[in-house]
């Protein structure tokens, strides 16, 4: 089967699987599948299915898709298979901002109320974008890939230390911070779905349009420049896609691990395609992964619930180990 056809089949399979998981997601929860059957005559059941399960499941897909897109962009931009969406300081920026917001708002029980969540969401998005901007300032722009990576590492360490300081000063926020760092899809409502899906489409369009340039960049920066590609503009646009998609996902779900890293690899292992198609398929894959993890998180120990970030970390970590093993047998990871 040709690469084009395999990519198309994979896209269809990912979309159909997502539709099936959406229905499954509407059926899984503490009240079980009964709520679905009684929703048309029971207001409480309707609320559970329509206001809680469906937006949560769809939101998990949207957040996963944003992370998958960001992962594919990061790996293409930095020409590194281990690059992930949190590379440029977005995660540490979001975590610091959330810790400051929690310290200011006060910790639970109020921290879980939706008004406060909205405040935390804004703080997380602002922090993620600020983290990326700080990385860009330290790297003196977008022209040097290595400088960008180093600046991202430095921002990660420094903002991480600052977050620890805030946590140390206000220990009451520890539990809420733990929830943010582990990631959760439990607070996603329709408005959050709207924000994420509204951002996903234009960001995906930009990344798709720049796919041909990412292909050129894969041959090396000098070759890309020799082909007349506007590397500065292109990097700036791709970093904007990376920062905004990561920020939007982190703001709604916390720091979900491995989805951004693993999605592009999974797509490549099934259907190696040029970057234009890779960003779309990685988004579909990321959406499916996080949606699947969300359903599993509600189902495995029902009626209790596992933090979805723990599931993605366990599954993603296992996959990463397998990938390292496979690459090392083929002669190196680079």
């Amino acid at each position: 089967m040709s690469g084009d056809r395999r990519g198309l089949v994979l896209a269809l399979a990912l979309l159909v699987s997502a539709a099936v998981l959406l229905l499954l997601g509407a059926s899984v929860g503490s009240t079980g599948v009964e709520s679905v059957f009684t929703a048309h005559r029971d207001a409480a059941a309707w609320q559970i299915v329509w206001d809680i399960r469906l937006p949560r499941t769809l939101g998990a897909w949207a957040a996963g898709a944003l992370l998958g897109l960001a992962g594919a962009v990061a790996q293409g931009l930095f020409r590194n298979p281990l690059a992930d969406p949190y590379l440029l300081g977005s995660a540490s920026g979001a975590a610091l901002a959330v810790s400051i917001a929690l310290a200011l708002f006060g910790a639970s029980p109020y921290a879980t109320q939706w008004l406060v969540r909205l405040g935390l969401t804004g703080a997380a998005f602002g922090g993620a974008v600020a983290g990326v901007l700080l990385t860009l300032v330290l790297a003196n722009g977008v022209l040097h890939t290595l400088r960008l990576l180093l600046a991202g590492v430095i921002v990660g360490v420094v903002l991480g230390a600052a977050r620890d300081l805030v946590t140390l000063a206000v220990p009451d926020i520890l539990q809420a911070m733990q929830g943010f760092i582990l990631g959760s899809t439990g607070f996603i409502g329709w408005s959050a779905c709207g924000v994420m899906l509204g951002l996903l489409l234009p960001l995906l369009a930009v990344a798709w349009a720049l796919g041909r340039m990412l292909d050129g960049l894969a041959l090396g920066e000098a070759t890309a420049a020799s082909l007349g590609l506007p590397l500065g503009v292109m990097r700036a646009a791709l970093i904007a896609v990376l920062g905004l998609s990561t920020g939007a996902a982190v703001a709604q779900t916390g720091l979900i691990a491995f989805v951004g890293l693993a999605s592009p690899h999974l797509v490549r292992s099934i259907a190696p395609v040029p970057h234009g198609r890779l960003v779309v398929l990685a988004a579909l894959m990321g959406g499916l992964l996080l949606m699947g993890a969300d359903v599993m998180a509600r189902w495995v120990v029902a009626p209790q619930e596992l933090p979805v970030g723990v599931l993605t970390a366990v599954l993603g970590g296992t996959y990463l180990l397998w990938l390292m093993h496979r690459r090392s047998r083929r002669g190196g990871f680079a």
């Binding site: 292909d215 041959l219 000098a222 020799s226 040029p274």
Partner: protein, 257 residues
């Protein structure tokens, strides 16, 4: 007619206090429709010179492409006139051979325009010229080092630029494919292209029309590959441990103890 010219070209590598000058005022004129080899000992600045000539390295002095200052031309306009093949171009393992060669058509295509008939024809010509056409549906990551090099050469050829700069194009190629590359470079020059190649092996480099001998960031000699003065310059920069002899009508370099 001069295709590529360098005037008082200076370039350095590294950053900040580690910045190290590599080229010390290079003046060079490369005639159109000729094949020129750039040779010299390790660290002479061959690759740096090629990158500066391609406009890929910040430099002092001027580089002129077909009489126009290179720094003033737009990226795409320059890319249509000058193609570059770097050392160890990597990555792109998930692209098919055909897709990789098609990247050479980027300077000719609109922002989101699909490849046209001319692009497909150029890619086919390039892949056939490097005998890589039969693998066009394979992934670059599935090829051996030598096979990859032929695909990357096809990518550079697909640009169909008048000036073609190549840095160590023979790396990873076995002797028959080295011979094929030499014949290809000759045919390109005969067809009017300007070919400039950096080669660390002197015998293949002697098959070119002209040779630029570089040492310590300065041009020691520029002349025809068959000239005795060129052979003497080679012996000089390689510490008299290299001699040029004629064998079966070709110049070959022999190393001595």
């Amino acid at each position: 007619m001069i295709a590529l010219e360098a005037r008082a070209l200076r370039a350095a590598l590294g950053h900040g206090s580690q910045r190290h000058p590599v080229l010390h005022g290079i003046d060079l004129r490369l005639a159109a429709g000729r094949w020129t080899s750039i040779v010299g000992p390790n660290g002479a600045g061959k690759s740096t010179l090629l990158r500066a000539l391609a406009g890929l390295l910040p430099h002092e002095g001027q580089v002129l492409l077909n009489g126009a200052v290179l720094a003033g031309s737009g990226g795409r306009a320059r890319a249509r006139q000058l193609a570059w093949l770097g050392q160890n171009e990597g990555g792109a393992d998930d692209l098919t051979v055909y897709d990789v060669a098609m990247l050479g058509r980027l300077p000719h295509r609109g922002w989101l325009a699909p490849p046209g008939a001319a692009d497909h024809a150029a890619v086919e010509r390039a892949l056939r010229a490097t005998q890589a056409w039969d693998w066009r549906t394979r992934l670059l990551g599935q090829l051996s080092g030598g096979e990859r090099q032929r695909v990357l050469l096809a990518r550079a050829l697909a640009v169909e630029a008048g000036v073609l700069l190549m840095d160590e194009p023979l790396s990873n190629l076995d002797p028959p494919h080295q011979a094929d590359w030499l014949a290809l470079a000759r045919s390109l020059a005969d067809a009017g292209s300007t070919v400039v190649s950096v080669l660390h092996e002197i015998s293949p480099a002697l098959q070119a029309d002209e040779m630029v001998v570089l040492a310590a960031g300065r041009i020691v000699h520029q002349g025809a590959c068959g000239d005795a003065a060129t052979h003497e310059a080679l012996a000089q920069v390689f510490d008299r441990r290299l001699r040029v002899r004629e064998l079966d009508g070709q110049w070959v370099a022999l190393t001595t103890q």
